[in-house]
């Protein structure tokens, strides 16, 4: 019966490791552990099936207490139980072959400790989810795992001969392998789906970009046409030596156009020098959006921007957050302005975004606090997330300045 309590102890630890909760021990955890162990001990004389089922229900309750989702709790608990069954079978086989006294105990504890360490390392190092996002999949997984587990306990009982255990072990291992293969295939398909989504967004942005270029080209043609007309008129005025008329003509027809040429905002020419698709796409979509909101937008890039030595997705996210903030700060103000630029330098590339600030900002450290936003609670992704993304990229450094009425952010990416 001691063995059962040891097994329960490992169930407890493994479930906690799987839920990334190993470092925190609560009073609830200890109470749960004591009650389960105590009641197992007290019930040791009754039916073994009964005990197995009770333990299972107790642990499902324990996981449910942590994640508050019955399907997920079942999958997690059953996965651990089935794995423990595998370890149990291996240990039993080992004892039957070697005939060591206390062999089962040693092998079981060693194997479970190894799996515990592996599990906790994996769950700390990666951010893999233990359950599916889709709850239907969780239900199916829970039911399947339950069937497997029930098969194990009802088919075998506690005492068995060697061949039976060996056969079952093979089946169990095959199932574990199968589950792992299925999960990895599922993960892959989710990843592919995500990539397709990203590409889709990019294609849509590219399309808008092309439309914009076409519109500009048409405008240019019209301008050339007008220009020719203007030249003809000027020639006529000069031919007839009508300086007065020319002056009037200049005031009426040329000056306004010249003004307009200066004021017109051309961000496309410089954007065309960005050859990194992701970056072009995000800059175009955000800046263009700002233009449609009536914000004055400048973008400047004088050299070709060919490559970037940092995770493109992270950089796109960083620029997205910065530009979103700039746009948010400039909307609803008549003279909002966003000035942005990329500087290509010898060993680094610098991205700069600057916007006008209309309200008194609190000190920067307050802005960087978790979930802080000047626009009320839970608005968008703030500066805190920005720091997190920048920090995980060795090559990226961030500068934030608030000067008079401008808010400025500069991201420098070191070239390697």
């Amino acid at each position: 019966m001691n063995i059962v309590i040891i097994q329960e102890f490992f169930f407890f630890l493994l479930i906690k490791a799987l839920l990334r909760d190993l470092t925190k021990i609560r009073i609830f955890d200890l109470a749960f552990l004591l009650i389960t162990a105590g009641s197992t001990y007290g019930l040791s004389t009754s039916n073994v099936y009964c005990i197995s089922l009770l333990v299972l229900i107790a642990f499902i309750f324990f996981s449910w207490w942590q994640i508050r989702n019955i399907e997920c709790a079942m999958s997690v608990t059953l996965a651990i139980f089935i794995w423990s069954a595998v370890v149990d079978h291996i240990s039993t086989l080992f004892v039957q072959i070697t005939k060591l006294p206390n062999g089962y105990f040693t092998v079981f504890v060693v194997l479970q400790t190894i799996s515990l360490i592996l599990l906790s390392v994996i769950s700390v190092r990666t951010d893999l989810e233990v359950v599916f996002e889709n709850n239907n999949l969780n239900i199916i997984a829970a039911v399947l795992l339950l069937i497997i587990y029930l098969y194990i306990i009802f088919n075998e009982g506690w005492k068995n001969n060697f061949r039976m255990i060996f056969g079952n072990l093979i089946i169990l291992l095959a199932m574990v392998a199968l589950i792992l293969v299925l999960c990895s295939a599922y993960l892959k398909s989710v990843k592919v789906q995500y990539e397709i989504q990203q590409k889709d967004i990019q294609i849509r942005n590219d399309e808008r970009y092309m439309n914009e270029i076409e519109a500009h080209y048409n405008e240019l043609r019209r301008f050339r046409h007008e220009y020719q007309n203007v030249m003809i008129s000027i020639r006529e005025y000069l031919k007839t030596d009508d300086l007065k008329g020319l002056q009037k003509y200049y005031k009426q027809n040329i000056e306004p156009v010249a003004d307009k040429v200066f004021k017109e905002q051309y961000i496309l020419e410089d954007l065309s020098r960005i050859k990194v698709k992701f970056i072009k796409s995000i800059l175009f979509s955000k800046l263009n959006y700002a233009l449609t909101l009536g914000i004055k937008v400048h973008f400047d890039l004088k050299d070709l921007f060919n490559e970037i030595s940092v995770n493109e997705l992270d950089l796109a996210m960083v620029l997205g957050i910065i530009l979103d903030n700039a746009i948010e700060a400039s909307t609803d103000h008549n003279n909002g302005e966003i000035v942005s630029a990329i500087f290509i330098e010898k060993n680094s590339t610098t991205f700069l975004v600057q916007n006008t600030v209309f309200e008194q900002l609190p000190p920067l450290w307050k802005l960087k606090e978790l979930n802080y936003s000047t626009k009320g609670e839970n608005r968008g992704i703030g500066l805190n997330n920005l720091s997190i993304i920048v920090n995980r990229n060795e090559n990226m450094i961030l500068e934030t300045r608030v000067r008079d009425s401008t808010f400025l952010q500069r991201v420098t990416v070191k070239r390697t």
Binding site: D300, V339, N347, L364, N391, E394, I397, L398, E399, R410
Partner: protein
């Protein structure tokens, strides 16, 4: 004596600039001299490389007929000489870029579009530059120079609140009154930059002059802007003695 350098690709405009600046120097009796004027940025760089310590004013056109533009030229100059003031001259269309002002810490921009204003603009800007040089010479020690990427920032010590090591091992975050920025460096090198900097915790170096208060019980330092910084037991004892002096 402050040296004035000019770089402008159009020979006629270069000539004109030289005349105006010469006139300003003479009329305002400034302690300056045009030492070099050129159409070629590379010549200018070669020339500046030899006089790194001198006070220099650089009047640069942004669009140069070269593979290097005025901005890049300014960065090269800033990198090699620490007492330089950059004045850009530019046409109307380039001026959308007050951004450059920040990127290279330009001293000023002068528009080419209004030739009649040039004399007035230059006389104001050059006078201001001379004043600034004078001020900086008086308290030159209280500035630190920090390299961010390719640009070198010269920062007044009294604007620095504290330095913090980032969760990424090679980066340091500098917290200023008007913002913060990161650079690549080591925290242990900072205490040597100025006697006001004190390492109060494994991951913090504070500016002693910018501490508002110390809570000895929770070992928290509150800085002038309200931000809070941890300090070690040893540091809190040292600081409680020291702070009465500041």
């Amino acid at each position: 004596m402050i040296s004035v350098y000019i770089c402008e690709d159009d020979p006629k405009q270069l000539d004109h600039l030289q005349q105006i600046i010469d006139a300003v120097i003479v009329d305002q009796q400034l302690n300056m001299e045009i030492v070099f004027a050129s159409q070629d940025p590379y010549e200018l760089i070669a020339r500046t490389q030899t006089n790194t310590g001198e006070m220099g004013i650089y009047v640069l056109d942004i669009a140069l007929h070269s593979d290097m533009n005025g901005i890049q030229l300014a960065e090269k100059i800033k990198g090699s000489s620490d007492k330089s003031k950059i004045i850009f001259i530019t046409t109307h269309t380039e001026l959308a870029l007050t951004v450059f002002e920040y990127q290279v810490e330009a001293f000023d921009f002068i528009l080419k579009g209004f030739p009649d204003d040039l004399y007035g603009r230059f006389s104001r800007v050059l006078q201001m530059a001379q004043c600034r040089f004078k001020l900086e010479n008086q308290n030159y020690e209280s500035r630190v120079r920090i390299k961010i990427g390719e640009t070198v920032r010269s920062i007044d010590v009294k604007n620095i609140l504290y330095f913090e090591s980032s969760s990424n091992p090679h980066k340091i975050i500098v917290h200023l009154d008007d913002g913060d920025f990161e650079y690549y460096g080591l925290l242990k090198d900072i205490s040597g930059l100025d006697h006001c900097f004190y390492r109060c915790y494994r991951s913090y170096v504070v500016n002693l002059r910018r501490i508002r208060s110390l809570d000895k019980h929770s070992r928290l330092l509150t800085m002038d802007n309200g931000d809070q910084v941890w300090c070690s037991l040893q540091a809190s004892q040292y600081l409680s003695r020291k702070l009465s002096n500041y």
